[in-house]
Amino acid sequence: MNNPVLIAAGTVLLLANAIAIAFLASSKKRGKAVYARRGRLAAELDRIETEGDWAALEAMEPRDIFFALSRTGEMFRFSSALTEIARRKIGSSSELLHSLSRGARSASRASRGLAAFNLRFFPDEIALPLASKWIVSEKTLRVRLLIADSLEGRIGTEQLPAFLSGLADAPFRHISNMATILRRSSELIVDHYRSRPPESMGERLFLVFIARRQPDEFCRDFLRAEALSGPEEIAPHAARILSKVYPEVLDSESFLSHRNPSVRERAIASLARTETPDAAARILSLMADPDSRDAAVSALRAITQSRPRLLDMALDRFFESKDEGERNSLAELLSSRLDTLLFDILGPRKKSILELVRVLVSRGRIYGILSFLNRNRDLLVEKEILEPLRDGAAADPALAEKMAATLSPSISARLGLAAPAKGKTEGRKPQTKWDKPLLVALLVLIVAALGFWLHSNIRFAADPAAGATLFLREYMNAFSWYSVAINSVYALILGFSILEMRKQLALRASRPSSMLFKEKILPSISIIVPAYREEKTIGDSIRALLNSQYPDFEVIAVNDGSPDGTMAALVAEFGLERFDLRYDEAIATEPVRALYRNPRIPGLTVIDKENGGKADSLNAGINIASGEYVCGIDADSLLEPEALLRAMTQAFESDEELVAVGGNILPVNGCSVSSGHLRNIALPKNGLARFQSIEYIRSFLAGRLGWAYAKSLLIISGAFGIFGRKRVLEIGGYLTRKSRLGRDTVGEDMELVVRLSRHMREKRIPHKVGYSFDANCWTEVPEDMRTLVRQRNRWHRGLIEILTLHKNMIFNPSYGRIGLVAFPYFITFEAIGPFLETFGWIVTLILGILGLLDSGSALFLFCASVLYGILISVASLAVAENQVLYYKPQETAVLILYAIFENFGFRQYMSAIRVSAYFSYLFAKGGWGKMERKGFAGVAASTPTRDMPLNASNRERGPRQ
């Protein structure tokens, strides 16, 4: 290539860099201005309402009213007087009307969604006719929901048939969502169906949900009929609603012995709702029937909460019953109220209670008893309870060990138990040993190709030295072209990312979060937090997670046999107590030692288990999780409170099944953190961490987000990823030695996504692996080279492992884009690329030392690798700063500097590490490379520098326009 072309290319790249930086600078100011204007307008509307200053409202621009309403609607509603005038003004603006009708006709789902959302700001005479025509022809379910949400409470009899038209063949979730949204119109809907009973399954199900809101005879009879003889898809729902609204209807033999177990269960539960001794007696009598036992137990459990006297009845029955199964069930029930019973052990029911204790001990269900003993101060009570425990301990040494480990030393001494032996504390290292010949062959192939190239150069050259020089020059040139290729791929993906981000922004703009928080609109999530040696941070992390802004979630912390005080810290922080729970161990894991809960914190469960690694802990959490989705989070990571909501809205947006969704991982080093909450975003102080900051930003924007757009995303970081629980169970959970796949991997997060995608492809279910551009998770990154090298080594080994494990997906058309695009990309640029790159830099170095470097090649390499690389980084940063991050201007400037510097050493070094990881994988050096945790306290020492709280400002950045 000749120099002028190169110089021109270089200039273009430099210019592009400058433009990106300029864009970066301008976007900051824009954000602030929009924010201030909204605040001003909203306050003005509020003033008008308080003072009744309607004249001022009349004088306002329709656009401004529209703008203010669209922001405040998330928080509060204005009086109908103000709303009426505002709607009329907005409806009178031809400009706004035009954009509404254009949106409704648009081909883009996002634009239609936005128009559907905006419907709510228009007066009835405009919105209602438009909506009833539109909703009939609308194919996208989410847009239909939005139309309904916009007009809920305003729909009249004429429009109703249109809104109900699409229900006949809609999926279950859509029907239930629609019923939730239209609940204010239930009277109208019921009237509608009164004259014309629903026919299709969809409509019947819909009416079942609506009947819950409309207390009249018609609804009751409809529900009764559906519960009694409806099909399997409807009867349980009808029974559930009956048990909530008309429990007395279910109180009949035909329901109590219904063929469908879940209807039966509801009937028993509704008996419990009357909470009378008579009902309790009847439920107790149902205990005799093995099929009804579990339902009876949970029903009685609910009653005894508020009617403690009923415990006595259960206790009497327990004492009298001869049936072993019934006794077991009663013991189960009574054990849930142990505190009450044991406190009473000196009373008249002593004999029965002692008998119960004996049964519980013989079944190994001792934790409730032990926890009571530890809190009890009454020696006489203790003496009574110790007796059966002593017998149990004598009969079963394992039980004795459990007692000794749980009871306070003085009590276990009185029980005659030895102090507990210290559990084994060795962390086990995952082993890897699979098909390496392939990798060796690949390596040999690369070396052979290079060797052949060198050889042919030497053969055709005048002398070997000239041949070798020629080879080096040719290689350097090829390396420059390789750089052009890889950076172009990055640029392409960055382009995809921008498209994906715009798509997500547009969808978000049309998404009233008040609707997302309505019942069951979003799926429930179980957040699983594996913790190994996290004594310092675990309390804060869990507390912050419990404070997530999401409609329906639970937190499951898993102590992975930490040798430090992680478990003790959890118990102390949350006042946990052991409890016994039966659950299905769908995925085999290392043994679970105990489960903990605090009845006052219903959303938290803690699992204490033997050490088995992170994936094993996640599997243990998945077993016990009850959410529709599971979210794996590192215990040392900080999740922004809105992150779950931001990520999971993809489940709402997508008509395909969302199997996995990931979010950004960003370095927390340098940010100020207090009590597990991110106060201020700041750049890390440490240089190495700053390099990683720019790396992380690039990897999600010039990487994962774009891959998600291309429907080929394969990496969701283990630090924060959400997966459909049903699907994860189907594929047997994370890869561990204990799981049914019988293998360990160090890259369990990527492996799971690959296997999920594969599974869905093989089952031919339309699905989606999503990535949310602003669901942020902040994690500590290594600040010393040794830890960083170990971490990268592990990542790369994980990648190679997955490529070999799923090698039959490579170039396999039956796996679609993943087989044909994503896998080849990983092989070329991620597995082989580092070899080419490292070798390329060595060659350049050799040429430089020998003085053989000509200016043309050097300039080409500089443009292709350095300038182009910087452009990618700066452009990523510009995009990120526009929507995701909030670094201060001077920090952004520093980041740009680091984006430049990283091309001179850091990137090369990272490539070299990958090469060495390849070899260390071949020689099977295992291990995780655990980083030294500083704890958040160390990070939190930096002083807050911004006056605006982070979350508020970030929330402000989800624009609605």
């Binding site: 909203a42 309402e49 308080t50 922001r71 509060f76 009454d378 802004q549 207090s674």
Partner: protein, 592 residues
Amino acid sequence: MLTGSLNSRKSVCELAPGVFWVGSDRRVSSLHCNPYLILDGEEGILIDPGSPLDFDIVKKNVESLCPLERITSLILHHQDPDLAASAPLFARSGMKARILTHRRTSSILRYFGIDGDWYFVDENAFAYETPSGRLLRFIPTPYLHFSGSIATFDESTGSLFSSDLFGAFSETDDAGLFADSSYREPMASFHQSYMPSHAIMHPVIELFSTLPMKRICPQHGKVIAENLSSFVDILKELECGTYALPVREALTTIGLGGPIDPVRARLEKLETKHLELESQLMRSETARRKLEHDLTRDDVTGFRNERYFRRFLSDRFEFAALTNEIGCLLGCALDPDASMGKLFGAKAKDELLAKIARFFENQVPGNASAFRTGVDRFAFFLPAFSLEDGIACAEELRAALHETDALGARVKTSFAVIDLGHFLSGGATPSERTAMILDRIDALVESAWKKGGDTVLATTMDDKDACQEPLLYVIDDDIFHVKLLEKHFIRRGYRVEGFYDGASAMQALMREKPFAIISELSVPEMDGFSLRRALLRSSEFASIPFVLCSKRKDDASINESFRLGIEHFLQKPYFMSELSAIVDSFARNCGS
């Protein structure tokens, strides 16, 4: 045998491996004192070290076995000077032992100048485990002869350190250390004089007899190492409480002169008559006690009743007139609806009351006296408590009762706290004063209920609320929301302070109290519920009206907010006018 000749008090004697008698042969007022030392691995445990009179010898004896620095525990069975008064001297000589005793005993021990690291056996399940694993069990022996008396049983050697029980006066010439059959008589007479009654002593001796004892080491008299059961049997049957019987008292004042026949004849006659009278007296005494018990105790709870409470109060004031120190009175009322409403029948209610009483008994400080003063009223007298301590104690009781699962029902209570010191001076008659106090307590409890219950009110708490200052707290991490509400309520004439997390609002509360709080449920660091929970812990903040708002409003959060007594839980988007009306009504309520 380590040192010393058998059966003399001349030197240290090893009673069992590692268990030593370390006393002197000095006899003061017919009493020998017996200090003991247990050496357990690296640890020395000193038991009842004795009086200053014996200090030098006991110290020498102890040091001959182990340096004072190694003595890590000191057991004091009760607070008599003959066993405890030398403890400060030991401390001054370099012994840094933790003191193992009953909390009630400790309150008196402090008057000796004894202080340091206390180990209250009543709060440690009446047991102490040495580092080497030796278990010492403590047996409460109440009113033998102090309410906080204990005895110690060393399981590993089977030694019972029985304190005054099994003790005896010693004859001048009998310096033997081990008891033989001649010991029975002096032991019996010692108990007759010192122990209050058969009824009190009998159960304790019964309990002792169940222990696998190998020897009994009393603090006076002799060590009983053989024929243990014969000594135990004597005490099981023995009637005691001599000084409670006036006739016998009369006899002892007459005294026994010499062998003069007429006197002897008269004495014998008297003796016969005396025995007769004594058995009569014993019967009437039993009857009297039963009657008194019936009259002064509440059947359901076992607490003293209101009658007794009135008498108790005036007694206390009489006593306080001497010391000028009295204490605090807690009045407690159960929420009649919340706790009793859902029970079936009177029996269930009584059972619940009995449980509550037991719960209180476990929770109140050891020196408190408890009374049932009405159907659902209790009172607790806390001697020498300051008002602040009394309030703290009431808050603790209130919270503990509210949170426990032991009762099977959620019980809400309100407490009134009164510093009785206020009533010490003033011209009222005792009965007027008692009436005044009871009225005051009732009034306070009533106003606690008016405030919604679950509160603690005290005499000094000024009822001025923060109402004068119309300060409103707004907490949300959505800055937009906070700013809008600030503007809105400032326009309505309130002062508004905005917070972006719960923790900083909590801090600000200490500085200035708002008349109402509006909080989002999910705010960082301390969410809405945690904040409300923290507020409920103190009666002062618990009464601040609390409005919760959130996008997330589901069954779980509604239940929790109901549990925390939050009446207003608005789901976003809410009507601004509704929030304004709620806040205005709070402002009106506290203005009145």
